[in-house]
Protein backbone atom coordinates (compact mmCIF):
# COMPACT_ATOMS: atom_id res chain seq x y z
CA UNK A 1 0.00 0.00 0.00
CA UNK A 2 1.04 3.60 -0.54
CA UNK A 3 3.10 5.08 2.22
CA UNK A 4 1.10 7.80 3.94
CA UNK A 5 2.55 10.71 5.86
CA UNK A 6 1.91 10.31 9.56
CA UNK A 7 0.49 11.46 11.91
CA UNK A 8 -2.85 11.56 10.14
CA UNK A 9 -5.43 14.12 11.20
CA UNK A 10 -8.96 12.72 11.55
CA UNK A 11 -10.34 15.10 14.14
CA UNK A 12 -11.89 17.74 11.90
CA UNK A 13 -14.81 18.26 14.29
CA UNK A 14 -12.37 19.44 16.94
CA UNK A 15 -10.87 21.97 14.59
CA UNK A 16 -9.73 22.28 11.00
CA UNK A 17 -6.51 23.69 9.63
CA UNK A 18 -7.04 27.05 7.95
CA UNK A 19 -7.32 26.71 4.19
CA UNK A 20 -4.11 28.17 2.67
CA UNK A 21 -6.28 30.55 0.64
CA UNK A 22 -7.71 31.83 3.93
CA UNK A 23 -4.33 32.22 5.59
CA UNK A 24 -2.93 34.11 2.58
CA UNK A 25 -5.79 36.56 2.73
CA UNK A 26 -5.45 37.11 6.48
CA UNK A 27 -1.78 38.00 6.17
CA UNK A 28 -2.78 41.06 4.12
CA UNK A 29 -4.50 42.60 7.12
CA UNK A 30 -1.79 42.79 9.75
CA UNK A 31 1.43 44.54 8.79
CA UNK A 32 2.27 48.22 8.07
CA UNK A 33 1.98 47.49 4.34
CA UNK A 34 -1.36 45.80 4.85
CA UNK A 35 -4.81 46.93 5.86
CA UNK A 36 -4.27 47.11 9.62
CA UNK A 37 -6.56 50.02 10.55
CA UNK A 38 -9.31 49.93 13.13
CA UNK A 39 -12.59 49.44 11.29
CA UNK A 40 -14.17 51.86 13.78
CA UNK A 41 -11.78 54.68 12.83
CA UNK A 42 -14.10 56.72 10.66
CA UNK A 43 -11.80 59.72 10.31
CA UNK A 44 -9.16 58.33 7.95
CA UNK A 45 -8.52 55.97 5.07
CA UNK A 46 -6.84 53.29 7.23
CA UNK A 47 -10.11 52.83 9.07
CA UNK A 48 -12.22 53.03 5.91
CA UNK A 49 -10.21 50.31 4.21
CA UNK A 50 -10.55 48.03 7.23
CA UNK A 51 -14.25 48.80 7.43
CA UNK A 52 -14.65 47.84 3.77
CA UNK A 53 -12.91 44.51 4.45
CA UNK A 54 -15.21 43.81 7.40
CA UNK A 55 -18.26 44.71 5.29
CA UNK A 56 -17.19 42.31 2.58
CA UNK A 57 -16.63 39.51 5.12
CA UNK A 58 -20.02 40.21 6.68
CA UNK A 59 -21.59 39.68 3.26
CA UNK A 60 -19.57 36.50 2.68
CA UNK A 61 -20.79 35.02 5.96
CA UNK A 62 -24.38 36.15 5.36
CA UNK A 63 -24.33 34.73 1.81
CA UNK A 64 -23.52 31.20 2.94
CA UNK A 65 -26.70 31.07 5.03
CA UNK A 66 -28.85 33.39 2.91
CA UNK A 67 -29.11 36.12 5.53
CA UNK A 68 -28.81 39.90 5.47
CA UNK A 69 -25.29 41.15 6.32
CA UNK A 70 -26.87 43.42 8.94
CA UNK A 71 -27.98 40.29 10.81
CA UNK A 72 -24.40 39.16 11.48
CA UNK A 73 -22.72 40.03 14.81
CA UNK A 74 -19.02 39.17 15.15
CA UNK A 75 -17.94 37.28 18.25
CA UNK A 76 -14.84 35.42 19.41
CA UNK A 77 -16.29 32.04 18.42
CA UNK A 78 -19.29 29.77 18.73
CA UNK A 79 -18.95 29.52 22.52
CA UNK A 80 -19.37 33.26 22.86
CA UNK A 81 -22.17 33.25 20.29
CA UNK A 82 -24.01 30.58 22.29
CA UNK A 83 -23.56 32.54 25.51
CA UNK A 84 -24.71 35.78 23.90
CA UNK A 85 -27.73 34.15 22.26
CA UNK A 86 -28.95 32.17 25.26
CA UNK A 87 -28.26 34.58 28.10
CA UNK A 88 -29.01 37.56 25.88
CA UNK A 89 -32.42 36.30 24.78
CA UNK A 90 -33.38 34.89 28.18
CA UNK A 91 -32.48 38.15 29.93
CA UNK A 92 -34.25 40.31 27.38
CA UNK A 93 -37.47 38.27 27.59
CA UNK A 94 -37.44 37.74 31.35
CA UNK A 95 -40.77 39.53 31.82
CA UNK A 96 -42.46 37.08 29.41
CA UNK A 97 -41.22 33.97 31.18
CA UNK A 98 -38.26 32.11 32.57
CA UNK A 99 -38.47 28.69 30.92
CA UNK A 100 -35.96 27.37 28.39
CA UNK A 101 -35.99 24.11 26.39
CA UNK A 102 -32.82 22.44 25.11
CA UNK A 103 -31.35 18.93 24.69
CA UNK A 104 -29.01 16.79 26.77
CA UNK A 105 -26.74 16.31 23.75
CA UNK A 106 -26.01 20.00 23.24
CA UNK A 107 -22.50 21.41 23.32
CA UNK A 108 -21.20 22.46 26.74
CA UNK A 109 -21.36 26.12 25.68
CA UNK A 110 -25.15 25.76 25.50
CA UNK A 111 -25.54 23.49 28.53
CA UNK A 112 -23.35 25.63 30.77
CA UNK A 113 -25.07 28.83 29.67
CA UNK A 114 -28.35 27.18 30.65
CA UNK A 115 -26.88 26.08 33.99
CA UNK A 116 -25.91 29.68 34.67
CA UNK A 117 -29.47 30.80 33.93
CA UNK A 118 -30.75 28.14 36.33
CA UNK A 119 -28.60 29.71 39.03
CA UNK A 120 -30.29 33.02 38.17
CA UNK A 121 -33.72 31.48 38.74
CA UNK A 122 -34.66 30.30 35.25
CA UNK A 123 -36.06 26.83 34.67
CA UNK A 124 -34.51 24.64 31.95
CA UNK A 125 -35.88 21.44 30.40
CA UNK A 126 -33.14 19.17 29.00
CA UNK A 127 -34.72 16.79 26.50
CA UNK A 128 -33.43 13.27 25.80
CA UNK A 129 -32.83 12.39 22.15
CA UNK A 130 -34.19 9.22 20.58
CA UNK A 131 -31.77 6.27 20.28
CA UNK A 132 -30.53 7.62 16.94
CA UNK A 133 -29.65 10.99 18.46
CA UNK A 134 -32.50 12.90 16.88
CA UNK A 135 -35.10 14.95 18.71
CA UNK A 136 -38.60 13.48 18.86
CA UNK A 137 -40.78 16.37 17.68
CA UNK A 138 -43.76 15.21 19.78
CA UNK A 139 -41.64 15.10 22.91
CA UNK A 140 -40.40 18.56 22.03
CA UNK A 141 -43.91 19.95 21.58
CA UNK A 142 -44.99 18.51 24.90
CA UNK A 143 -42.12 20.25 26.68
CA UNK A 144 -43.16 23.75 25.60
CA UNK A 145 -45.04 25.87 28.14
CA UNK A 146 -46.73 29.25 28.20
CA UNK A 147 -43.70 30.72 29.96
CA UNK A 148 -41.16 29.20 27.53
CA UNK A 149 -39.24 32.08 25.96
CA UNK A 150 -36.28 30.31 24.38
CA UNK A 151 -35.50 27.04 22.61
CA UNK A 152 -31.88 26.11 21.85
CA UNK A 153 -31.26 23.06 19.65
CA UNK A 154 -28.03 22.42 17.78
CA UNK A 155 -28.11 21.79 14.04
CA UNK A 156 -25.33 19.15 13.79
CA UNK A 157 -24.04 17.32 16.84
CA UNK A 158 -20.32 17.64 17.40
CA UNK A 159 -19.82 14.06 18.60
CA UNK A 160 -22.18 11.96 16.52
CA UNK A 161 -22.79 14.28 13.56
CA UNK A 162 -26.57 13.86 13.44
CA UNK A 163 -28.61 16.63 11.81
CA UNK A 164 -31.65 17.88 13.74
CA UNK A 165 -34.78 18.96 11.87
CA UNK A 166 -34.44 22.66 12.63
CA UNK A 167 -37.03 23.53 9.97
CA UNK A 168 -39.77 21.66 11.83
CA UNK A 169 -38.64 22.89 15.24
CA UNK A 170 -38.53 26.46 13.93
CA UNK A 171 -42.13 26.32 12.67
CA UNK A 172 -43.34 25.20 16.09
CA UNK A 173 -41.38 27.93 17.87
CA UNK A 174 -42.57 30.64 15.49
CA UNK A 175 -46.22 29.61 15.97
CA UNK A 176 -45.81 30.00 19.71
CA UNK A 177 -43.68 33.16 19.47
CA UNK A 178 -40.74 31.48 21.18
CA UNK A 179 -37.23 32.62 20.29
CA UNK A 180 -35.32 29.80 18.57
CA UNK A 181 -31.53 29.58 18.80
CA UNK A 182 -29.50 27.09 16.77
CA UNK A 183 -25.85 26.25 17.38
CA UNK A 184 -24.61 25.78 13.82
CA UNK A 185 -20.89 25.55 14.60
CA UNK A 186 -20.71 22.04 13.13
CA UNK A 187 -23.16 22.54 10.27
CA UNK A 188 -22.34 25.80 8.50
CA UNK A 189 -20.53 24.97 5.29
CA UNK A 190 -21.44 21.29 5.62
CA UNK A 191 -25.22 21.32 5.44
CA UNK A 192 -27.23 23.81 3.32
CA UNK A 193 -28.75 26.54 5.52
CA UNK A 194 -31.31 29.01 4.17
CA UNK A 195 -32.28 31.54 6.81
CA UNK A 196 -34.78 33.19 4.46
CA UNK A 197 -36.99 30.11 4.85
CA UNK A 198 -35.89 28.61 8.18
CA UNK A 199 -37.71 30.02 11.20
CA UNK A 200 -34.54 30.47 13.18
CA UNK A 201 -34.05 33.66 15.21
CA UNK A 202 -30.49 33.24 16.45
CA UNK A 203 -27.73 31.09 14.97
CA UNK A 204 -24.15 30.58 16.21
CA UNK A 205 -21.22 30.18 13.82
CA UNK A 206 -17.55 29.35 14.18
CA UNK A 207 -14.77 29.94 11.66
CA UNK A 208 -12.30 27.26 12.70
CA UNK A 209 -14.65 24.36 12.04
CA UNK A 210 -14.72 25.21 8.34
CA UNK A 211 -11.11 26.02 7.50
CA UNK A 212 -11.08 29.54 8.92
CA UNK A 213 -8.99 30.81 11.84
CA UNK A 214 -9.61 30.10 15.52
CA UNK A 215 -10.80 32.93 17.75
CA UNK A 216 -13.57 34.26 15.52
CA UNK A 217 -17.23 33.46 15.15
CA UNK A 218 -20.54 35.14 14.59
CA UNK A 219 -24.09 35.25 15.84
CA UNK A 220 -26.95 35.67 13.40
CA UNK A 221 -29.65 37.87 14.92
CA UNK A 222 -32.85 37.98 12.86
CA UNK A 223 -34.27 41.40 11.87
CA UNK A 224 -37.73 40.35 10.65
CA UNK A 225 -39.42 39.52 12.93
CA UNK A 226 -36.99 41.42 15.08
CA UNK A 227 -35.12 39.36 17.64
CA UNK A 228 -33.86 41.25 20.68
CA UNK A 229 -31.01 40.21 22.93
CA UNK A 230 -29.27 41.85 25.84
CA UNK A 231 -25.54 42.48 25.34
CA UNK A 232 -23.15 40.42 27.47
CA UNK A 233 -20.04 42.43 26.60
CA UNK A 234 -20.17 46.16 27.19
CA UNK A 235 -17.90 48.87 25.83
CA UNK A 236 -17.77 50.95 22.67
CA UNK A 237 -21.14 49.88 21.36
CA UNK A 238 -19.77 47.93 18.40
CA UNK A 239 -22.00 45.58 16.43
CA UNK A 240 -25.06 47.78 17.04
CA UNK A 241 -24.53 47.55 20.76
CA UNK A 242 -24.82 43.76 20.88
CA UNK A 243 -21.12 42.99 21.23
CA UNK A 244 -18.55 45.64 22.06
CA UNK A 245 -14.87 45.27 21.31
CA UNK A 246 -12.56 46.32 18.47
CA UNK A 247 -13.18 44.12 15.46
CA UNK A 248 -10.36 41.70 14.65
CA UNK A 249 -10.09 42.59 10.97
CA UNK A 250 -7.71 39.79 9.93
CA UNK A 251 -9.78 37.15 11.73
CA UNK A 252 -12.99 38.48 10.25
CA UNK A 253 -11.51 38.55 6.75
CA UNK A 254 -10.37 34.94 7.28
CA UNK A 255 -13.83 33.85 8.38
CA UNK A 256 -15.41 35.62 5.40
CA UNK A 257 -13.05 33.92 2.98
CA UNK A 258 -13.63 30.51 4.60
CA UNK A 259 -17.40 30.94 4.35
CA UNK A 260 -17.19 31.98 0.69
CA UNK A 261 -15.03 28.97 -0.17
CA UNK A 262 -17.48 26.74 1.68
CA UNK A 263 -20.40 28.15 -0.29
CA UNK A 264 -18.64 27.51 -3.58
CA UNK A 265 -17.26 24.07 -2.79
CA UNK A 266 -19.71 22.53 -0.32
CA UNK A 267 -21.60 20.39 -2.83
CA UNK A 268 -18.55 18.75 -4.41
CA UNK A 269 -16.76 18.50 -1.09
CA UNK A 270 -19.71 16.71 0.50
CA UNK A 271 -19.79 14.11 -2.28
CA UNK A 272 -16.11 13.39 -1.74
CA UNK A 273 -16.41 13.25 2.05
CA UNK A 274 -19.36 10.91 1.87
CA UNK A 275 -17.39 8.60 -0.41
CA UNK A 276 -14.49 8.60 2.07
CA UNK A 277 -16.77 8.14 5.10
CA UNK A 278 -18.51 5.20 3.42
CA UNK A 279 -15.14 3.71 2.52
CA UNK A 280 -14.05 3.99 6.16
CA UNK A 281 -17.25 2.46 7.46
CA UNK A 282 -17.23 -0.30 4.84
CA UNK A 283 -13.70 -1.15 5.94
CA UNK A 284 -14.75 -1.63 9.55
CA UNK A 285 -18.36 -2.76 9.58
CA UNK A 286 -17.77 -6.46 8.94
CA UNK A 287 -15.95 -6.79 12.27
CA UNK A 288 -17.95 -8.35 15.08
CA UNK A 289 -19.73 -6.16 17.63
CA UNK A 290 -19.29 -2.84 15.86
CA UNK A 291 -21.96 -0.19 16.33
CA UNK A 292 -22.43 3.21 14.71
CA UNK A 293 -23.53 5.85 17.21
CA UNK A 294 -26.22 8.15 15.89
CA UNK A 295 -28.38 8.02 12.79
CA UNK A 296 -26.39 7.08 9.69
CA UNK A 297 -28.72 8.86 7.24
CA UNK A 298 -29.44 12.14 9.02
CA UNK A 299 -25.76 12.83 9.48
CA UNK A 300 -23.01 15.10 8.15
CA UNK A 301 -20.76 13.51 5.56
CA UNK A 302 -17.50 13.74 7.49
CA UNK A 303 -18.46 12.05 10.77
CA UNK A 304 -18.16 8.41 11.79
CA UNK A 305 -18.68 7.73 15.49
CA UNK A 306 -18.33 4.05 16.08
CA UNK A 307 -18.12 1.72 19.08
CA UNK A 308 -15.98 -1.42 19.16
CA UNK A 309 -17.56 -3.46 21.91
CA UNK A 310 -15.27 -4.97 24.59
CA UNK A 311 -12.42 -2.61 23.73
CA UNK A 312 -11.78 0.47 25.83
CA UNK A 313 -11.59 3.73 23.88
CA UNK A 314 -8.56 5.28 25.49
CA UNK A 315 -6.37 2.25 24.97
CA UNK A 316 -7.66 2.04 21.41
CA UNK A 317 -6.52 5.60 20.81
CA UNK A 318 -3.18 4.72 22.35
CA UNK A 319 -2.82 1.98 19.74
CA UNK A 320 -3.74 4.39 16.98
CA UNK A 321 -0.87 6.65 17.82
CA UNK A 322 -0.38 7.74 14.20
CA UNK A 323 -4.00 8.74 13.79
CA UNK A 324 -5.52 11.75 15.54
CA UNK A 325 -9.07 10.80 16.53
CA UNK A 326 -11.08 11.43 19.65
CA UNK A 327 -12.74 9.03 22.05
CA UNK A 328 -16.18 9.20 23.51
CA UNK A 329 -14.82 8.26 26.87
CA UNK A 330 -13.24 11.16 28.67
CA UNK A 331 -11.11 8.74 30.65
CA UNK A 332 -8.44 11.33 31.37
CA UNK A 333 -10.69 12.78 34.02
CA UNK A 334 -10.56 11.13 37.41
CA UNK A 335 -14.28 10.43 37.24
CA UNK A 336 -13.93 8.07 34.23
CA UNK A 337 -17.17 9.39 32.82
CA UNK A 338 -18.04 8.14 29.37
CA UNK A 339 -19.40 10.63 26.83
CA UNK A 340 -22.59 12.33 28.05
CA UNK A 341 -23.80 12.43 24.47
CA UNK A 342 -23.55 8.65 24.00
CA UNK A 343 -25.11 8.11 27.42
CA UNK A 344 -28.03 10.31 26.39
CA UNK A 345 -28.59 8.04 23.36
CA UNK A 346 -29.16 5.21 25.79
CA UNK A 347 -25.87 3.52 24.90
CA UNK A 348 -24.72 1.31 27.75
CA UNK A 349 -21.51 2.21 29.53
CA UNK A 350 -19.43 -0.43 27.75
CA UNK A 351 -20.35 0.88 24.33
CA UNK A 352 -19.92 4.48 25.44
CA UNK A 353 -16.45 3.60 26.74
CA UNK A 354 -15.64 1.82 23.48
CA UNK A 355 -16.29 4.59 21.00
CA UNK A 356 -14.07 6.44 18.57
CA UNK A 357 -14.96 9.56 16.62
CA UNK A 358 -13.40 9.80 13.17
CA UNK A 359 -14.05 13.16 11.53
CA UNK A 360 -12.61 13.64 8.08
CA UNK A 361 -12.36 16.79 6.00
CA UNK A 362 -11.03 18.79 3.10
CA UNK A 363 -7.48 17.44 3.27
CA UNK A 364 -8.26 13.77 4.00
CA UNK A 365 -7.14 11.35 1.29
CA UNK A 366 -8.19 7.85 0.23
CA UNK A 367 -4.76 6.58 1.31
CA UNK A 368 -5.27 8.01 4.79
CA UNK A 369 -8.66 6.35 5.08
CA UNK A 370 -7.22 2.99 4.02
CA UNK A 371 -4.39 3.37 6.53
CA UNK A 372 -6.90 4.21 9.28
CA UNK A 373 -8.92 1.09 8.45
CA UNK A 374 -5.86 -1.15 8.58
CA UNK A 375 -4.57 0.34 11.84
CA UNK A 376 -7.95 0.32 13.53
CA UNK A 377 -8.69 -3.30 12.65
CA UNK A 378 -5.29 -4.39 13.93
CA UNK A 379 -5.68 -2.42 17.16
CA UNK A 380 -9.18 -3.73 17.86
CA UNK A 381 -8.07 -7.31 17.25
CA UNK A 382 -5.04 -6.90 19.50
CA UNK A 383 -7.05 -5.36 22.32
CA UNK A 384 -9.78 -7.97 22.07
CA UNK A 385 -7.13 -10.63 22.50
CA UNK A 386 -6.31 -8.83 25.73
CA UNK A 387 -9.89 -8.31 26.84
CA UNK A 388 -11.50 -10.58 29.45
CA UNK A 389 -14.88 -9.22 28.34
CA UNK A 390 -14.27 -10.44 24.80
CA UNK A 391 -13.53 -13.93 26.18
CA UNK A 392 -16.74 -13.87 28.19
CA UNK A 393 -18.69 -12.71 25.15
CA UNK A 394 -17.18 -15.56 23.12
CA UNK A 395 -18.13 -18.02 25.87
CA UNK A 396 -21.68 -16.76 25.59
CA UNK A 397 -21.81 -15.09 28.99
CA UNK A 398 -24.27 -12.21 29.23
CA UNK A 399 -22.20 -9.39 30.72
CA UNK A 400 -25.30 -7.76 32.16
CA UNK A 401 -25.89 -10.86 34.26
CA UNK A 402 -22.50 -10.55 35.99
CA UNK A 403 -22.31 -8.91 39.40
CA UNK A 404 -19.57 -6.34 38.84
CA UNK A 405 -17.84 -4.65 41.71
CA UNK A 406 -18.11 -0.99 40.67
CA UNK A 407 -15.12 1.01 41.81
Amino acid sequence: MTKVKTPIYMDYSATTPADPRVADKMCQYLTPDGIFGNPASSSHSFGWAADDAVKKARSQVADLVNADPREIVWTSGATESDNLAIKGAAHFNVRKGKHIVTMKTEHKAVLDSCRQLEREGYEVTYLDPMDNGLLDIDVFKAALRDDTTLVSIMHVNNEIGVIQDIAAIGEICRDRKITFHVDAAQSAGKVPIDLSTLKVDLMSFSAHKIYGPKGIGALYVRRKPRTRIEAQMHGGGHERGMRSGTLATHQIVGMGEAFEIAKNEMATENDRLLMLRNRLYDGLKDMEEVYVNGDLEQRVAGNLNISFNFVEGESLMMSLKDIAVSSGSACTSASLEPSYVLRALGRNDELAHSSLRFTIGRFTTVEEVDYAIEQTRAAVEKLRELSPLWDMYKEGIDLDSVQWAAH
Binding site: F310, V311, E312, E314, S315, M318, S329, C331, T332, S333, A334, L336, P338, N348, D349, E350, H353, E385, L386, S387, P388, L389, W390, D391, L399, W404, A405, A406, H407
Partner: protein, 127 residues
Protein backbone atom coordinates in the same frame (compact mmCIF):
# COMPACT_ATOMS: atom_id res chain seq x y z
CA UNK B 1 -2.14 12.38 27.84
CA UNK B 2 1.50 11.49 27.94
CA UNK B 3 2.39 8.00 29.14
CA UNK B 4 5.71 6.98 30.63
CA UNK B 5 8.01 4.83 28.52
CA UNK B 6 7.41 1.89 30.85
CA UNK B 7 3.65 2.08 30.37
CA UNK B 8 4.09 2.22 26.61
CA UNK B 9 6.49 -0.73 26.69
CA UNK B 10 4.06 -2.91 28.66
CA UNK B 11 1.17 -1.72 26.53
CA UNK B 12 2.89 -2.50 23.25
CA UNK B 13 4.50 -5.73 24.45
CA UNK B 14 2.24 -7.03 27.18
CA UNK B 15 3.78 -9.87 29.21
CA UNK B 16 1.93 -13.06 30.12
CA UNK B 17 -1.29 -12.47 28.26
CA UNK B 18 -3.57 -15.46 28.39
CA UNK B 19 -5.83 -17.64 30.46
CA UNK B 20 -5.52 -20.78 32.56
CA UNK B 21 -8.15 -23.31 33.54
CA UNK B 22 -10.10 -21.49 36.22
CA UNK B 23 -11.46 -24.75 37.61
CA UNK B 24 -8.01 -26.28 38.23
CA UNK B 25 -7.19 -26.65 41.92
CA UNK B 26 -3.73 -25.11 41.62
CA UNK B 27 -5.04 -22.03 39.77
CA UNK B 28 -6.35 -18.94 41.51
CA UNK B 29 -8.41 -16.40 39.53
CA UNK B 30 -9.16 -12.82 40.45
CA UNK B 31 -11.44 -10.62 38.35
CA UNK B 32 -12.04 -7.06 39.49
CA UNK B 33 -13.45 -3.84 38.11
CA UNK B 34 -16.55 -3.23 36.03
CA UNK B 35 -17.20 -2.54 32.35
CA UNK B 36 -19.23 0.51 33.30
CA UNK B 37 -16.17 2.06 34.93
CA UNK B 38 -14.02 1.39 31.89
CA UNK B 39 -11.75 -1.28 33.33
CA UNK B 40 -11.92 -4.98 34.14
CA UNK B 41 -8.85 -6.95 35.13
CA UNK B 42 -8.56 -10.73 35.21
CA UNK B 43 -5.43 -12.11 36.84
CA UNK B 44 -4.61 -15.80 37.27
CA UNK B 45 -1.85 -17.52 39.20
CA UNK B 46 -0.70 -21.12 39.19
CA UNK B 47 0.78 -22.14 42.52
CA UNK B 48 3.22 -25.03 42.99
CA UNK B 49 3.23 -27.51 45.91
CA UNK B 50 5.92 -25.40 47.58
CA UNK B 51 3.59 -22.38 47.67
CA UNK B 52 5.55 -20.53 45.00
CA UNK B 53 3.79 -18.97 42.02
CA UNK B 54 4.90 -20.90 38.93
CA UNK B 55 2.97 -18.99 36.34
CA UNK B 56 0.76 -15.92 36.02
CA UNK B 57 -1.53 -14.76 33.24
CA UNK B 58 -3.73 -11.71 32.72
CA UNK B 59 -6.37 -10.20 30.49
CA UNK B 60 -7.42 -6.61 30.92
CA UNK B 61 -10.08 -4.38 29.43
CA UNK B 62 -9.10 -0.81 30.14
CA UNK B 63 -6.80 2.07 29.41
CA UNK B 64 -3.09 1.73 28.72
CA UNK B 65 -2.21 2.20 32.38
CA UNK B 66 -4.56 -0.58 33.43
CA UNK B 67 -3.05 -2.96 30.88
CA UNK B 68 0.49 -1.99 31.93
CA UNK B 69 -0.30 -2.39 35.65
CA UNK B 70 -1.57 -5.93 35.19
CA UNK B 71 1.23 -6.88 32.78
CA UNK B 72 3.88 -5.65 35.23
CA UNK B 73 2.26 -7.45 38.14
CA UNK B 74 2.30 -10.82 36.37
CA UNK B 75 6.04 -10.34 35.85
CA UNK B 76 6.57 -9.50 39.51
CA UNK B 77 4.63 -12.36 41.06
CA UNK B 78 6.22 -15.19 39.11
CA UNK B 79 8.66 -17.13 41.29
CA UNK B 80 7.45 -15.45 44.49
CA UNK B 81 5.73 -17.04 47.47
CA UNK B 82 2.16 -16.05 48.29
CA UNK B 83 3.36 -14.18 51.37
CA UNK B 84 5.83 -12.15 49.33
CA UNK B 85 3.13 -11.33 46.81
CA UNK B 86 0.72 -10.23 49.55
CA UNK B 87 3.24 -7.56 50.44
CA UNK B 88 3.11 -5.90 47.00
CA UNK B 89 1.36 -2.56 47.28
CA UNK B 90 -0.37 -0.55 44.60
CA UNK B 91 2.05 2.28 45.27
CA UNK B 92 4.93 0.02 44.18
CA UNK B 93 3.21 -0.45 40.81
CA UNK B 94 2.30 3.22 40.45
CA UNK B 95 5.88 4.21 41.22
CA UNK B 96 7.46 1.71 38.85
CA UNK B 97 5.16 2.77 35.98
CA UNK B 98 5.28 6.47 36.90
CA UNK B 99 1.49 6.64 36.79
CA UNK B 100 -0.02 10.14 36.96
CA UNK B 101 -2.51 10.76 39.84
CA UNK B 102 -5.59 10.18 37.65
CA UNK B 103 -4.29 6.72 36.79
CA UNK B 104 -3.38 5.54 40.28
CA UNK B 105 -6.70 3.68 40.45
CA UNK B 106 -5.30 1.31 37.79
CA UNK B 107 -2.59 0.17 40.21
CA UNK B 108 -5.18 -0.18 42.97
CA UNK B 109 -7.16 -2.44 40.67
CA UNK B 110 -4.08 -4.57 40.00
CA UNK B 111 -3.46 -4.99 43.73
CA UNK B 112 -7.12 -5.95 44.20
CA UNK B 113 -6.83 -8.47 41.36
CA UNK B 114 -3.84 -10.32 42.78
CA UNK B 115 -5.39 -10.37 46.28
CA UNK B 116 -8.57 -11.80 44.77
CA UNK B 117 -6.57 -14.44 42.88
CA UNK B 118 -4.76 -15.52 46.06
CA UNK B 119 -8.02 -15.65 48.02
CA UNK B 120 -9.55 -17.80 45.27
CA UNK B 121 -6.56 -20.17 45.34
CA UNK B 122 -6.63 -20.43 49.14
CA UNK B 123 -10.35 -21.14 49.28
CA UNK B 124 -9.84 -23.95 46.77
CA UNK B 125 -7.17 -25.52 48.99
CA UNK B 126 -9.54 -25.61 51.99
CA UNK B 127 -12.18 -27.55 50.09
Amino acid sequence: MAYSEKVIDHYENPRNVGAMDKDAKEVGTGMVGAPACGDVMKLQIKVGDDGVIEDAKFKTYGCGSAIASSSLLTEWVKGKSLDEVQAIKNTDIAEELELPPVKVHCSVLAEDAIKAAIADYQSKQQQ
